[in-house]
Every structure is written in C-alpha cells, then in structure tokens.
Symmetry: C2
Subunit: 418 residues, 2 copies
C-alpha cells in the first residue's frame, strides 16, 4: 500500500463527489439525512459492540477515565446521534442563497451567492460523535468530507461512517461524499493536509499536539478549534451577586469544555470584599483557586499561581485569580494571555462595558453573561461543527453557513471592457 497515493485518490474522489453534491436539492439532502438517522438507529447493536472493542483496547492501553468517557457510546448517545441527523434535516439549506445583487452602470448584473466550500478534511480525536456530526454538517452544506478520527475510536468511527454511507446511498447520497481515512498511520494526516487543489479546508479538532502537528504540515487552509482560555473581568461597578452567579456558572456548569472560564480578573477596589465571597462560593463547588500575590493576601486558602497558570486551559475545576488595577489592566492581561475565544466583563458602568467590548479582540465578548453561551445551539444556529479561534473566514461558533463560501454570477448582454 502506498499511503500518499491512496490519500491523493481519496482527495480526487472527494473533489468529484463535491461537484455532484453542489447540485443536490435541499429536499434530496434532507431525505438522505433521515435515511442516515434510521440506519444509525437500526445498527445500534453493532455500533455499541464495535465501541466496546475500542473501549477494551483503550482500557488496556491505559487511557484516562476522562478519555474513556469521551470515547464511550451508550444507547442514549447513539439515539442522540440519530436525533441530531433528524434535527439537521429540519434546518434551512444554506446553499444557493443570494447574498447580494446589484447592477453596474454598464448593465452587468452581479449576484453574490452562497456555494459549498468543496472538500473539507476533519482531523480529530476520540469522540465518535464528531464523526457523525461532521459528516452530516458537511453533507447538509453540500461539501464532501474526509474524516480522520483518532485510532482509539477506529472501530466505532468505521461502523458509524458505514451506517451513514449505506443509509444515504439508498436515497441518492453521491458516492465518496463521506470518506473515512481508515489507518492508524499518522502520516495519513500529513498527506491529507498537503492535498493542494483537492482539499479546500482542514479543520483540526483535538488537543494542542494535534493542532500543532496540523499547522506544521498544512499546505491547505486551516481553521482551528483551538483552546479556550476564557476570562471574566469583574469591574468595580459590577453587581456582586450577578458576578458570583456568572463566575460559578462559567467555571462549574461544565468545566471540561472550551467556553468554560479559566481565569478571573477582579478590580482592586472591590477585591477585599468580593474575593472571600467568591472563594467560599467556588470552593463549595470543589474549585481549586490559584492566585497572584494580591489575591493570595486576601484569601489565605488560595495557592500561588505560577507563570504557566496564566496561559493554561485546565478544562477542570481549577481557577486562576488576579487582582487588576482597572479595565485597562484587565484588557492588557487578556491581550497577553487570552486565546481569542470568549471573554466577559461584569460591570454596570456603560463606558467600561463599551471599552471592553471594543478592545477585546476575541470571537465572542460578553457583558454581564456567562462565557458558556459561546455555542452554535445557544446562538440559534441549530448545529455547530466547532468554534473557530481563528480570525479568517469564520470566528466563534461555526454552523452550516460558515461551511459555505460564495461566488459571483455575472450576467451581461455582450459587455466588453473599454
């Protein structure tokens, strides 16, 4: 087997499929998605059996309990996958929409219309639901997809892709619309992300190591779902009770996700009164607090933070706490240590709110709300393929529209340029 050649062939087949996909009607696509949902449901027993094999191997390989949980499928998780396919069928088709139309003085009529991106490669780790979600979102937006999941989920991913392909085929899913790169060889990733002219976009979803690897190798455009080092700044003008509720929610409601708060910055004028209340409330929820010198001086149960703490995405019940001299200090800190994902201010003062909204250069900037709302569903997008921490093409939650691009259609009556 020649891996480079095989991957290139997959890319060529995907490009071919993408041309057929571009012409599919919304109704046809929705019929396919519903057939996929039925097939996933029908194969539930085999899917769970394959997943048990993956879990067994993962346990033997010593994967952490958190990793095992991410890998595990259950009856209800498979039902949810099936339901998500049906939900997607119910969403509007983004393709073909006219974004703008204008007529030039010479009579040319220019239309800007939404079209699929083409061929998308998804490189991801562990969670088998990413397989179904990514494939379905790419299909609904008429993109061909190449899926390269983690080797620990290989059997689960393989049978899920088979179910999607077989369910879809009966209703007209073009051949090679959804392809699974079925090899544990990491070189497959390298070949995949270097398919210039075949792959239009690579989206890595996983840990920092995976993303660095993709960035290093990539010769085609990449949109990253990178880490969320999310900050909440509590201003002197904040309502303390609102701030406490937001901090508790942003930290504890689901600590293992990218929009959970990792750092809190507190205005020095309220630190002495606010920090002890905050510590009591969060410690009661099991949160470990690490602080700068000023914070530790106020709350003796806080551990001193190291320099690395300011950059780290814990994805756990740990929070780093800093006392700042005011909004400008908070903004400078976020510029330096943030990851441009989601950052929030709790403040009543309108000038301070405006300053924060304008100067923080993150995909999503909040006033008086939890960072946990950065999510396609919470935004009303219906579904998301990830949260972009990049600035090009798409920022923040990426739904169906963000999986499209546009082209210009120009109609004339013989116009030439003079």
């Amino acid at each position: 087997m020649n891996l480079a050649r095989d991957i290139r062939k997959m890319g060529e087949r995907a490009l071919q499929a993408s041309r057929e996909l571009a012409g599919l009607s919304a109704r046809r696509k929705n019929t396919v998605l519903e057939a996929m949902a039925r097939e996933v449901q029908a194969r539930k027993g085999s899917i769970l059996a394959e997943n048990r094999q993956d879990l067994k191997a993962a346990r033997a390989a010593g994967l952490s309990p958190a990793m095992l949980d991410r890998l595990a499928l259950t009856e209800s998780r498979v039902d949810a996958l099936s339901q998500s396919l049906r939900d997607l069928a119910a969403l509007p088709d983004p393709v073909g929409k006219q974004l703008r139309r204008w007529t030039r003085p010479n009579g040319l009529v220019i239309q800007k219309v939404r079209v699929p991106i083409g061929v998308i490669a998804i490189v991801y780790e562990s969670r088998p639901n990413v397989t179904v979600d990514s494939a379905a979102l790419c299909f609904k937006s008429s993109n061909a997809v190449l899926l390269r999941g983690g080797s620990e989920a290989r059997r689960s991913n393989r049978i899920l892709v088979e179910a999607l392909q077989q369910g879809g085929r009966s209703k007209g899913l073009p051949e090679n619309s959804i392809q699974f790169v079925d090899t544990p060889d990491r070189d497959a990733i390298r070949h995949l992300v270097q398919l210039e002219g075949l792959v239009d976009l690579v989206m890595p979803r996983g840990g920092e190591g995976l993303i660095q690897t993709v960035m290093e190798w990539a010769r085609v455009p990449v949109i990253k779902h990178y880490k969320g080092v999310c900050h909440v700044y509590v201003d002197a003008s904040a309502k303390p009770d609102m701030a406490l509720a937001i901090l508790e929610n942003a930290k504890c409601q689901r600590p293992g996700v990218c929009n959970a708060m990792e750092k809190v910055l507190v205005h020095r004028d309220i630190a002495a009164s606010f920090l002890p209340k905050m510590a009591r409330r969060l410690q009661a929820r099991g949160v470990e607090l690490r602080g700068d010198a000023a914070a530790c001086a106020i709350v003796s149960t806080m551990r001193p933070a190291s320099d690395a703490d300011w950059r780290e995405e814990y994805l756990d019940l740990i929070l780093t706490v800093k006392v700042v001299s005011g909004p400008s200090d908070a903004i400078a800190h976020i510029h330096r240590y943030g990851s441009r994902h989601s950052d929030a201010i709790v403040a009543e003062d309108e000038k301070t709110q405006t300053l924060f909204l304008r100067q923080i250069d993150s995909a999503t900037v909040y006033v008086n709300a939890s960072t946990r709302f950065t999510d396609g569903g919470e935004f009303g997008m219906g579904a998301e393929i990830g949260i972009s921490t990049d600035k090009l093409h798409a920022r923040g939650p990426m739904g169906l529209e963000e999986l499209t691009t546009y082209k210009y259609l120009i109609r004339g009556t013989g116009q030439i340029r003079t």
Copy 2:
C-alpha cells in the same frame, strides 16, 4: 543582526499598532490618508530619483523590458498613487458596521460587527504601487501591515513607505502601523509567514515561484492572488458577433493581467463556421493561436497545442483553442485545467447558461460578458488589494470589506447557562 528576532519584533510592534488602529475614527483615518497623499506628492522628485536607481540596477541585472516597465515610476504614476490615497479617503469605513443583531429567548442580545483582521503581511514583487495601495487599504480597514516587496524595488519601496509614515504621523497614524521589511534576504519571508499569534493573514502577490514559497513556509493563514487561467466557452447557441467581440476584448484589451482570457472552448456544431472568423479577427490583433487537432483541422494557421498549453497562463497575445462536444465537455475541461478565477460562457440558451453558472466553481462566472470585468473597480468596490483565487474568507476581487472579519458582542443582564 538576528533576522528571526528582528522580524518577530516587527510582528510584535505591528500587533501593538493594530490595537491602536482598531480604535481610530473614520474621520481620523481619512485625514491621515490625505496627509499621506500630500507627502507622496511633495516627495515626487526624490521618489523618482530612488526609482531611477532601482531601474539602473535592474537593467544591469538584465531584467526583461516587461519587468522594467512594471518597476518604473513616472511623474504621472506618482500622481496616480497620490490620487489613489485621496480616493480611498472618500470611501466608506468598513469597520464597526453591524452585520446582524438578534435577541435570544433568554434575553441575550447578540451583535455581529465588522472588525479589522489585525496584522496583515503582504509579500510581493516588483511594482512599487503595490506598496502604496496595500499600505493604504490595510490602514483604511484599521489593519497593521508588514510589507515585504521585491529587492529590485527596494529603494522605491523604502522611500514610499517613509512618505506614508511621515505624512501620516503628523495626523495621528499610530507608530508601526506600516512597517517595511527592508532586507533582500529571502529568509525574511520565511520568518514573516511563521509568526503565529502575531500575523493574522499573509497575502502573497507575484509569480508562481513566490506563491509556492509562501505556501510551503506559511504557518499563518494565506490568501493567494494566484494565476488566472480564464476560459471562454462559446456555445452553439451563441450570437457569433457577440462572441467575437467578447473574445477579442478578453484576449487583447490587456493581455498581461490575470483576468485576460487564456483559453477558448468552441462548440463543435459551430466550429467550422466560427473558428475561421475568430482566427481572422484575433490574428489581425497579433494573437498567436494554438489549437487541438479539431481546431487545427479547421484553421490551418493554428499551431498544435501541447499538453502544457492547457494549464499555462501566458499573460501574452497567445490563445489556446479547443473544440468541445457541448457544455458538459466544456465544464469538465474547465474543472480540470482552470484556476477558479474567472470563466465565461457566450450562449443564448438559458438552460445552458444556468448549467454553466451552477457547475463552474470559479470566483466569478460570466454569461455573455468579457472576463476582464473581474476587478474591484469594475465591481464597484472602489479599490482592491488583489483577486483571491482561494475559497476561504474571500473570493474574487478583495476590497476594504474583505480586509475585515467580525466578532460577536453579547449583552446580558446576568444570564447563566442551565
């Protein structure tokens, strides 16, 4: 001198400048642009003198007359640069515009607003006007810019950047908004395109070699202004006179640019009557014709095309001609050999027009018009920084709006996620 460290410092200074730029008012930016225009005008003599030095060295190095023409500045070219700065001042500011605003059931108000991209690196060759256009477009869209022009234009570029900086400084241009990477060392490009976290976008503008180099090295997002292998397909339903006028315009009006036609595909049903007329008309304009076997059999003065001809961007009075069996054949040929820039159909039949518009996956697809209209000015954008042949973020002519991205501003009243 440590090149890597120096380039990184430039990137850090650019990031700092980008934060100041994000807060500049439209009025302030326009005042700066007008001051730049005056300074370029005031320094005309020295600019032309520096350019003569570049030209002298370029002649000694044996650059082609076409390259020398691209490098050369004249009084009227400098006047045009100054005027383009004033024109830009008159265009609307893209930054800060609200793209969408909606309220979620929980009361959160979400605003999607246009913001600058941040720091943009432009890597380009020979033409000194790219220096002024790129710097001015990036500034008007509140982006910091790092300019790395060709070494053959180094003196011209340096004095132009100095004029922009000095003219702007007096009116509040933030320090380091416009920086010139003043070294002939090509390693500077490598360091520049690997500034992850500092540079948000690289735009290479130049020949295939430069673009390949940037693609190979880049670790940050790239939008390419790549080649235009533009096709015109003449359908059996075309009005012959309209087709002839479009072909002549698309090929001859300015053959050295990316939106000039390079290939023509003619429906076999009209080939015998159309091709001799076409040959007479184009040969009278000095066009060399290269054809496939069927075309050569009809027009004896055509030279047989080689396989490489189908992919080549001549940028010259050369045209490759192919006889095709119909629209599907034409579409398949363009899919195989096109560069996704601009392709046109000349046809009266509406179904054929629609098929072509839908299936051709190029930035700009024309019906009954010359490909020469793919241009920011012709689109009504007012100015362009290039024509993207990529599919992500921006396609086709890129103006001020395409130099921006967006962020979400979310205002709440204490909302938490349940």
